[in-house]
């Protein structure tokens, strides 16, 4: 397996103030130094006071950005589709909806899978958060939040709690109970506090910490039990719409995307912005890591999804079609990373071949915008939540024991007659 490059963060005495802090390894006049972030800023201010005009700063900034692009281009020796040439193409797939979860009275804004591979939590515009056993379609728990537009929800790794938030600017954790009659709102714990709406939340590797992103342009890491802010992440210049934790063994980074068209990679320990990508032409609605943790995909209002390689430090693929003009609201990878599922504002879900860049399936069936698409933890199905107030769990449709020819004929018929909603 490829060796993971992970950030060896140094803690130690700052070369300037001697305090023990997370250190930034920077170059000053080509000499490497270790300064803590506070001293870096102080030094930056001194630079300003020495009479650097705003014009010289601007030119310096621009020259550096050009140099960065130059460095990136030096190692750009091959394109993704060239690497993918030797790999077999996928045929056309047909997807089939196997469960439709009805129960929300209003737009479904977000959903998340439980690690048991069959339970789901979903949240909607009317303030309701519902926990379902998607396999049996039973509703197991329901909570009504005191605010509307619950834009974020997440299942805890243990399966014993859910977190949600939205226009109330907070993220609250509800422990789930086996007693169906218990009022979950009574045990509610308010964890995160932002100064604007909560756009996305996620538990880390345990139930004790939550990572949140907000319309106030920041992300933050919180301790669930005490509600204490452990780390905040500043760097976006507009609303942050989505975040995703890296699935790596080191588990120390996460990526966020926002309305400033930037996707930033952060180190959770120091709060530093480690990498930044700005190639989208509009708001980034969703970010998702590739299963190996070495790349991530984004879905944006510019109607494209893009793949960014973290080790090569650049954008490596764009998934788009002239016929797709509506924004992509949500993306997720299949288990192997070969397929990228993307939900769009034109009510469809497109499935892309990550390596070849072609579309292998299109799923109709929702009657309004698709707001959230997630693949189940064992990769057997994907769930889509929509503004039509339903959630659908879909799988790949295969004929048992039929020949490939029949399969191809069937998919061609479906695609060309444009049957929008086939319920078998």
């Amino acid at each position: 397996m490829c060796d993971q490059t992970f950030l060896a963060i140094t803690f130690g005495p700052c070369d300037n103030c001697s305090q023990n802090k997370p250190l930034m390894n920077i170059y000053l006049k080509n000499e490497p130094i270790n300064y803590c972030s506070l001293c870096v800023e102080l030094m930056a201010c001194q630079g300003l006071a020495k009479g650097e005009t705003i014009h010289t700063l601007k030119t310096e900034s621009e020259t550096l950005k050009a140099k960065l692009e130059e460095e990136r281009a030096k190692l750009h020796d091959v394109e993704l589709h060239q690497v993918a040439e030797k790999i077999e193409a996928l045929g056309q797939f047909v997807m089939k909806t196997r469960r439709t979860l009805k129960g929300h009275g209003n737009k479904v804004l977000c959903m998340d899978w439980c690690r048991d591979k069959r339970r789901i939590v979903s949240s909607s515009q009317d303030g309701k958060v519902i926990v379902w056993d998607a396999y049996t379609t039973n509703k197991e728990h329901a909570v009504t939040m005191p605010c509307t537009w619950v834009m974020a929800c997440a299942y805890a790794p243990s399966g014993c709690a859910v977190a949600c938030g939205g226009l109330d600017n907070k993220c609250s954790v509800y422990p789930l109970s086996l007693d169906k009659n218990e009022n979950l709102a009574a045990k509610k714990k308010s964890v995160a506090m932002h100064t604007n709406y909560l756009s996305s939340c996620s538990f880390t590797n345990s139930d004790m910490q939550i990572l949140t992103s907000s319309g106030d342009g920041t992300c933050a890491l919180w301790d669930v039990e005490s509600g204490q802010l452990l780390q905040s992440f500043h760097g976006h210049s507009a609303d942050v719409l989505s975040l995703n934790l890296a699935p790596s063994e080191t588990g120390n980074t996460f990526v966020s995307g926002g309305c400033d068209k930037k996707a930033n990679v952060w180190d959770m320990r120091s709060g530093q912005n480690v990498q930044s990508f700005e190639t989208h032409e509009s708001d980034i609605n969703c970010v998702k890591y590739y299963p190996s943790g070495d790349a991530f995909a984004t879905g944006s209002d510019d109607a494209t999804c893009r793949l960014y390689d973290l080790r090569a430090d650049r954008e490596v693929a764009i998934y788009s079609k002239e016929s797709i003009i509506f924004g992509a609201s949500s993306v997720d990878f299949s288990l192997s990373g070969r397929l990228l599922f993307a939900g769009y504002n034109d009510y469809t879900i497109n499935v892309w071949d990550v390596l070849k860049g072609t579309r292998v399936a299109i799923l109709f069936g929702h009657e309004n915008r698709v707001s959230s698409v997630r693949v189940s933890p064992d990769g057997t199905a994907f769930c889509s939540g929509s503004w039509d107030s339903t959630l659908r769990v879909s799988v790949r449709f295969r004929f048992s024991g039929e020949s490939d020819l029949r399969n191809i004929l069937y998919s061609m018929v479906l695609l060309f007659t444009g049957i929008r909603d086939y319920r078998w």
Partner: protein, 447 residues
């Protein structure tokens, strides 16, 4: 932050009675506002004392206004510094932007409520909207907010009129900076319209980005493609999972066969453990098997340390110091029962860090141990009898299904014999003469 420290020094210098900006008393209706300064005087002072040209000075002056260190008296909603005779004042340090005091919604609510109490209908349209919004989502606190507003209002009335006017101007200026009206740029504004200046922090960030090590595209893209190829057979969207996809057939045997604590795992699952150390550790059944191997090697302390470090990293803040102490006693102290073998430098740094434990204090040691297991122990595990044994024991759902299909039950011999007897009886009856008594008796029976 230290940028604020810099502004703080600047403000002190500007207000110096001898070398600072010259201020006058300005008459406003019947009150006199002290220490009023003109825009042009401010720009002139900055040009002279910072040794920059006029344009820079104006831009810098506007930053001071945008941050709220200076506020304009006329046209107060526009946070710019006009290089003319327009009147401004220095903001009181109480209202300077300081890291520790965030402009809370509660405070804003109190401010708006107070103005409402003083005079109804005095709020601007955008302020009224904000007020309504706050009233809605802070409803549970509204009694508290109104009470605070009333207290502040009464305290204000007790002041001298001149002081009160000055304070009102200062407070109003503060809120214009922190809750800017539509179309006003404020340095506290995080919105899309925010004025982004190229600042030195960005330059340093870009500098670091240039220095960062990168990998050739052929290498990293090759790795992405390799990952896909490795996991292809395990992706239910590419190759059907066996015995069947529960969502497809409504049969959840697949989940039962792959439960986290199952005794005999499936062959696919065992194969997946060999893909990477991460896959092995991530699967609880895999980790359990790895532990069996480690026990045989008498080297379980490495994994135990790694697990303990994970618990520290992801645990609650309250449990931090206790856990750190426990870990030190068990793994790091000289003569510890499960002492881990790490290099002297890492050990030294870790032990020193444990004096003031934080959740990432074990990072160095954890990484060292993890790499050791990943590069050495893992590969020995894959070649070990423990792994080979579980590979043999592992079940294959496909084979199970196949075998099941081939085995068909046969007809029970009793039924075969009964059938044979019936045939015999029929044949005998067809051959011999008809017995009328027996025929009548059977007819009566039927009735």
């Amino acid at each position: 932050k230290t940028l604020r420290h810099f502004y703080y020094q600047m403000m002190l210098q500007m207000q110096d009675p001898s070398t600072g900006v010259k201020g006058t008393d300005q008459k406003l209706n019947i009150t006199i506002i002290p220490h009023v300064i003109t825009g042009q005087d401010i720009v002139a002072w900055i040009t002279k004392n910072m040794n920059i040209d006029n344009d820079e000075a104006q831009a810098f002056g506007t930053m001071l206004v945008a941050f709220g260190y200076i506020y304009p008296l006329q046209d107060h909603k526009k946070l710019v510094l006009r290089p003319d005779g327009s009147l401004n004042r220095f903001q009181t340090p109480y209202f300077w932007p300081v890291q520790k005091w965030k402009a809370e919604d509660t405070d804003y609510g109190i401010y708006l409520a107070k103005r409402n109490i003083r005079k109804k209908g005095v709020l601007d349209a955008y302020e009224q909207e904000e007020y309504n919004k706050l009233h809605k989502w802070m409803n549970h606190k509204w009694d508290f907010i109104v009470m605070q507003a009333k207290e502040q209002y009464h305290a204000g009335k007790a002041r001298q009129k001149a002081d009160r006017v000055v304070f009102d101007c200062q407070e109003r200026a503060y809120w214009i900076v922190h809750r800017p009206p539509p179309q006003t740029h404020s340095a506290m504004d995080y919105g899309l319209d925010r004025h982004i200046d190229p600042n030195v922090e960005e330059i340093i960030y870009t500098q670091q980005a240039v220095m960062r090590s990168r990998v050739k595209s052929s290498v990293s893209l090759g790795a992405l493609a390799k990952y896909i190829t490795t996991f292809k057979n395990h992706d239910p969207f590419l190759i059907p999972c066996l015995p069947s996809n529960p969502w497809h057939t409504d049969d959840d045997s697949y989940w039962e066969l792959n439960a986290p604590d199952v005794e005999i795992p499936t062959k696919m699952r065992v194969e997946r453990w060999s893909f990477s150390f991460y896959e092995l550790l991530n699967d609880p059944r895999g980790r359990a098997d790895f532990k069996i191997f480690l026990k045989k090697e008498f080297s379980g302390e490495n994994l135990a340390f790694w697990e303990a470090a994970e618990e520290l990293k992801w645990g609650t803040a309250a449990s931090m110091s206790e856990k750190a102490e426990q870990i030190f006693k068990t793994f790091l102290a000289p003569g510890a029962p499960r002492w881990i073998n790490i290099d002297g430098r890492t050990m030294g740094l870790t032990v020193k860090g444990l004096e003031h434990p934080h959740r990432y204090v074990l990072d160095g040691a954890q990484t060292h141990i993890f790499m050791l297991m990943k590069k050495d122990t893992f590969y020995r595990y894959l070649k070990s009898p423990v792994y080979k044994e579980i590979q043999k024991k592992a079940i294959s759902p496909a084979q199970l299904q196949q075998n099941m299909r081939n085995r068909r039950p046969s007809i029970d011999p009793i039924i075969t014999w009964q059938k044979e007897q019936e045939e015999k009886a029929k044949a005998a009856a067809a051959a011999g003469p008809v017995d009328i008594k027996k025929l009548m008796a059977s007819k009566l029976d039927r009735k």
